[in-house]
């Protein structure tokens, strides 16, 4: 009823929504990860009586409240865009997912209240004793609320790809990919947040003017890389399970992503993943070379491991269907790249990335032991400008991975023309953009 057609191409709406959604997601995922990381670092700081962990927790808390403010407004923009550009889709999805969406907003409110109380009560409660326990409880309150909010959004996001009848609501809530997407996102958040905070610390490390500052930020960068890089190595296992579920539930969508027209996007994700593992290992190699004891096995293993990871990364990033990559037809007529086959090459490559990446991660974690004394005597260590820059490149790769991964998931539906898979098509929004007879478009509820 009564809605003047937008009279613009459908693509404009898609671009507006994609931009709003991707920027919103970037901050939203950061909030979940940073709330947990912040709470954990403050807890560890208290248990170990470590000022460094306390300082890192405060830095994370500051990043958290800034992103909470940003995301709350980006959320409003996303809702505005959805209502204006895809009103039929949004009102339909909203009716089906009313309670999860409402609960999500409610728990996000809880997260904001806890997070702000946490950060702004630091001087008052952050000392010792009972006040400190309450302060840590506030941090965990923010973490739990953000986690539940994310769970609610995962219900909605997974429903769009693998929908079930809207009533009873449990069928829709526990749709086939809900649990898989959720677990995938939990670890994905830790990858992104770990590397994003590491990036922030790396900037501060580069800008540090005193030994104390440089020492702290060098240590903090490595702690965050440890978190992000560790979670990164778990992702392929979870992602594999998620994809299997998509394959069984929506084979068409799976085909579009893995072998079809959008397989190049998945190759891009594979390339970024490989880059992250290689760059992370390179960073570890630099730590090993500078600070590992002479007799440490890491001095022998990590360089070799990096070489193997490089080879594995190249294989993993190779495309199989060459002609699905934009503009490749200008270069070659070949249809298939046999080395880009999943079975066996990419499976081996992925296994190598995880196994050797994990080996390197173990050495990074060992660098925090007393024997290595990597983080203590900063004054005796020559200045290092390359390591923080490496971390910044990793951070950039993590941002690109988040964007492309989001795009991959949306593509799984959109490539086959769906907004809600198998139920609602993108073409259903056409009346919002132009009406065939020149009359006004109708909202679904008024039809």
């Amino acid at each position: 009823m009564l809605i003047e057609p937008l009279e613009i191409p459908l693509l404009y709406g898609r671009i507006a929504i994609a931009t709003a959604a991707l920027s919103h997601t970037l901050f939203a995922t950061f909030i979940v990860g940073s709330a947990f990381m912040g709470a954990a670092t403050e807890t560890i700081g208290r248990l170990r009586h470590s000022e460094r962990f306390e300082r890192l927790a405060r830095l994370i808390a500051f990043a958290l409240i800034l992103s909470t403010a940003a995301i709350s407004f980006l959320g409003v923009i996303l809702v505005f865009c959805l209502n204006i550009f895809w009103p039929h889709f949004w009102s339909t999805l909203f009716r089906v997912m009313f309670w999860p969406l409402l609960l999500e907003a409610g728990f996000f409110l809880g997260e904001a209240v806890f997070a702000y109380s946490w950060y702004y009560s630091w001087d008052r409660l952050g000392g010792e004793g009972r006040g400190k326990s309450l302060h840590i409880a506030l941090a965990w309150g923010a973490a739990v609320c953000s986690y539940i909010a994310m769970l609610m959004i995962d219900i909605v996001a997974s429903y769009m790809l693998t929908p079930r009848p809207p009533q009873p609501i449990w069928l829709a809530v526990f749709n086939p990919t809900m649990a898989y997407l959720h677990v995938h996102r939990i670890f994905g958040n830790f990858v992104w947040t770990g590397l994003a905070v590491a990036g922030l610390c790396a900037v501060a490390w580069l800008k540090a003017r005193t030994f104390d500052e440089a020492g702290f930020y060098r240590w903090a960068t490595s702690v965050c890389v440890l978190v992000g890089f560790g979670a990164l190595l778990i992702m392929p296992g979870i992602g594999y399970q998620y994809l299997l579920q998509v394959r069984y539930t929506e084979p068409q969508a799976f085909h579009a992503l893995m072998l079809g027209g959008r397989s190049w996007l998945f190759d891009l994700v594979a390339l970024l993943y490989s880059l992250l593992v290689v760059l992370g290992s390179w960073y570890i190699l630099r730590i090993v070379r500078r600070t590992a004891p002479e007799e440490s096995a890491s001095r022998l293993i990590v360089p070799w491991s990096l070489g193997i990871l490089f080879g594995a990364g190249v294989i993993l990033a190779m495309p199989y269907h060459l002609q699905h990559i934009p503009f490749v037809s200008n270069v070659t007529d070949a249809l298939i790249n046999p080395l880009g086959k999943m079975q066996p090459y990419k499976y081996f490559a992925l296994s190598a990335l995880v196994i050797f990446g994990f080996t390197n991660w173990v050495f990074l974690s060992r660098s925090f032991s007393q024997r290595w004394s990597a983080w203590q005597d900063i004054a005796n260590v020559p200045p290092d400008r390359r390591s923080p820059r490496l971390v910044l490149v990793m951070c950039l790769c993590a941002v690109l991975t988040m964007f492309s991964m989001g795009w991959v998931r949306e593509s799984a539906r959109a490539y086959n023309g769906y907004l809600i898979y198998g139920v609602m098509k993108l073409s259903d929004e056409e009346p919002t953009y132009r009406s065939a007879d020149g009359s006004l478009s109708e909202t679904p509820s008024a039809r």
């Binding site: 009823m1 505005f80 209502n83 909203f94 009313f98 907003a105 996000f108 904001a112 509820s445």
Partner: protein
């Protein structure tokens, strides 16, 4: 696998749809209204802070509050919007689509406001050390950009009461009650902000304080109270402008406010305003020496307030009493100042007996703001968009044809204007 995703209209359990939307909306507008008021006052106080340091401290405190509650207020807005989409999808979608362009502008202004507000607060000392004018300019820019956002939202709110058949979304913004609502709300926000500042200062003064902090809170109390009072004295004028525009554009809505089903809300509103004015007089009395107090005003102000409340249903009479009350209060406030040569000086001070009154005025100002919001919403009943969409979220269809019925509903509105 295809199945039908169209579900029947939702009914929010226990609360009902209207109340479910009203609760987060009211919570949101209180925080948002206070934030807008503080954002405007902060650079002004900072300007005065060039002479008195307490003003600068107050400006910083107000900005801190704005930044602190920003996310909470925005999330409340998201909850409100989500409830609107779920419970009133047709209304929400229609109204938003009537304002596509202005919404774009509002979003851009708000994002830009972010870019000014955060450095304004988080780099307060650093920027002031470099240039205090630049710092004030940041605060002013943030406030002005926030006002663009508020103006667009006021446009949408006023449009729901007095819709027009605009040729473009920008014309829809220019509906009969837009500017008057914007002005009335802005002054209301300043009044609320002032009284809340005074209430907070009074609360802090009741606790153990070091001497320098005590002096700061006394100063804060006076600044807040006088700002609130100034806006309160201005508010009857902006209220009459707003009411007369409603009367002209939607006479039935005006009738509904003062004599209709929800007239109780109007009585409550005027009772609260009366109490605010009586309370302000009591504060004024408390702040000056007994010999300068006026016995006549002690009787006249409460009696006039009472007469104003009882005459709510009689527009001319009520307005006469309201203006009389404003004049009496101005007379009462005059005793706060003494003349020294050519200048008027403030000769008032905080006393412990004023604390409960100040706290009560803070609460009352919040209640007035919320009641006014509720009145504006009930004025549209039984419509969500007057004469266009019903409270049951259904389009009013005098004819079967979609285009014709739309024309007809607009024609009705235009006739009333």
């Amino acid at each position: 696998m295809p199945f039908d995703l169209n579900l029947p209209a939702m009914q929010f359990p226990l609360l009902g749809n209207s109340l479910a939307v009203a609760i987060p909306s009211l919570l949101h507008i209180v925080l948002a209204g206070l934030s807008v008021g503080f954002l405007i006052l902060a650079p002004i106080f900072e300007w005065y802070g060039r002479r008195t340091a307490h003003f600068t401290d107050l400006a910083y405190g107000l900005t801190k509050f704005t930044v602190l509650v920003f996310s909470i207020s925005t999330v409340l807005a998201v909850i409100m919007v989500e409830l609107l989409i779920g419970l009133f999808p047709v209304t929400t979608m229609w109204v938003w689509n009537q304002f596509r362009g202005p919404i774009g502008l509002a979003i851009a202004a708000f994002l830009l406001q972010f870019a000014f507000l955060y450095p304004y607060y988080h780099y307060w000392e650093r920027i002031r050390a470099r240039s205090s004018v630049l710092h004030m300019a940041l605060g002013t820019a943030a406030a002005l950009l926030m006002l663009i956002w508020v103006a667009v939202l006021d446009g949408m709110g006023s449009y729901m009461l007095t819709p027009v058949k605009g040729a473009s979304p920008w014309d829809n913004l220019w509906n009969p009650t837009w500017l008057s609502l914007g002005l009335h709300r802005l002054v209301g926000e300043l009044a609320m902000a002032g009284f809340v500042i005074a209430a907070y200062a009074a609360w802090r003064l009741g606790r153990q304080n070091a001497e320098d902090t005590r002096e700061y809170y006394q100063c804060m109390f006076m600044i807040g109270w006088l700002s609130g009072l100034a806006a309160l004295l201005l508010q009857p004028l902006t209220g009459v402008i707003y009411a007369s525009w409603i009367q002209r554009a939607a006479p039935d809505a005006y009738e509904q406010i003062v004599r209709g089903e929800y007239r109780l809300l109007a009585y409550v509103q005027f009772a609260l305003i009366g109490l605010l004015m009586v309370g302000s007089h009591l504060l004024s009395n408390g702040a000056i020496p007994p010999k300068r107090r006026s016995r006549g005003l002690d009787v006249a102000i409460p009696v006039t307030a009472l007469l104003m409340v009882t005459s709510v249903g009689y527009t001319t009479l009520r307005r006469a009493f309201l203006y009389l009350l404003v004049v009496l209060l101005l007379w009462s406030v005059r005793s706060l100042f003494v003349r020294e040569g050519r200048r008027w000086l403030l000769a008032a001070s905080f006393k412990p007996s004023m604390r409960p009154i100040a706290l009560a005025l803070g609460v009352l100002s919040l209640l007035v703001y919320m009641t006014m919001g509720t009145i504006r919403e009930t004025a549209r009943r039984p419509y969500t968009v007057r004469h266009v969409i019903s409270l049951h979220d259904r389009v009013e269809r005098p004819t079967a044809d979609g285009a014709k019925q739309r024309e007809a509903s607009y024609a009705t509105m235009e006739g009333q204007e």
